[in-house]
Symmetry: C2
Subunit: 208 residues, 2 copies
Amino acid sequence: MSDRRTAILEAAATVIARRGVRGLRVEELATEAGVSKALIYYHFEDRTGLLRRTLAFVSNRAERYTTEQSAADVAAEPLRRLEQALLLELQDLPHVRENSTAWGELRASAVFDPALRDELALASVIWVREVADQLGAVLPTAPESALTAGAERLTALLEGLSARWLSGILPLSDARAGMREAIGVEVAHLARSATPSAHGLRQADEPD
Amino acid sequence: MSDRRTAILEAAATVIARRGVRGLRVEELATEAGVSKALIYYHFEDRTGLLRRTLAFVSNRAERYTTEQSAADVAAEPLRRLEQALLLELQDLPHVRENSTAWGELRASAVFDPALRDELALASVIWVREVADQLGAVLPTAPESALTAGAERLTALLEGLSARWLSGILPLSDARAGMREAIGVEVAHLARSATPSAHGLRQADEPD
DNA sequence: GTCTATAACGGGATAGAC
DNA sequence: GTCTATCCCGTTATAGAC
């Protein structure tokens, strides 16, 4: 894959984080990437195609830095690693903010743009499974389905808190505190359901 | 307030739910509302002003139907009422879907449009307090700060789950199950922290 | 592969009649 | 208050040279 193409995708993430999907102008993107407008249409089908590729690019990049970060502390306790991985997205660092903002934008756009849904669903499933795995490292006895459900809740909460933080209605520190507490609560909950024999039988909450 | 003006706001919610803020065309809005484009500019400053008013309109409407629904079951147990109020937003009914979609869109837009932030922050604070109050009815002994934090988590989770549902990456039934379980977990958590030595206290009045 | 120049048009906003 | 008609700018997308 050409250098230019990658440069355009990186620039797209930057511009989306700055202006939103709605505010993305192919011209501004061209300037940001240091190329001409026409080259963007040469490398990508059209505006929507570009967005699709950017979504995949952003989610790969997020996955990459999450994994790197965790690998660096592979010796750390599973719970610490889980917290790190989730709180990583709630930091006021340029590249984190950029990735979170772009991700949020593209997710929101997917509600109205079916072309984005496949990429979004794929990225989402990968992320949930990753978190489920880390939860599994914390709670080896918990059943897979419970881990997935827990990961679903934690990642959805993270997206909700992130959206509030980025739209300026929740201070970052509150978002981080909320996330940290939720992790603790979730782990405790899963631990209780996973080891019913230790204490009294604790059945699942409500029937569907 | 004129009939027309309200009709335009209602139509705006409908069109935003159909096309997104990004896809809202003043012309389509005019058709939907059964008025001319010019009238929209007569009643609202400009496109952004219209969005601001629509945000306030949508959040008022949501508050209204939440309250109505709860009032109808005022005799129900507090926990049931809390669940009802939150799960209300996760239903595949036209007007609910419309409100949730429009709300999500406007929230996402606020990240890049400071003009929307004040309305958004206000609506958000009202909603969190409402949920915190209902949590307080379930757990009279819990301190106000814990209730607010819990409500923050529950509403943020709801927004996260809702976004996933509406973007088609999470089935509605999963979203509802996740929400229901989270409520149970959260209430249990708050109950434990509020009554470290005993449980079942149900008589204390409003904490400060 | 990459550029400059331009076509083509969608859509926000306004003028002015009634 | 409400309409019809229209302006006109910004934006996507393409043509064609190098």
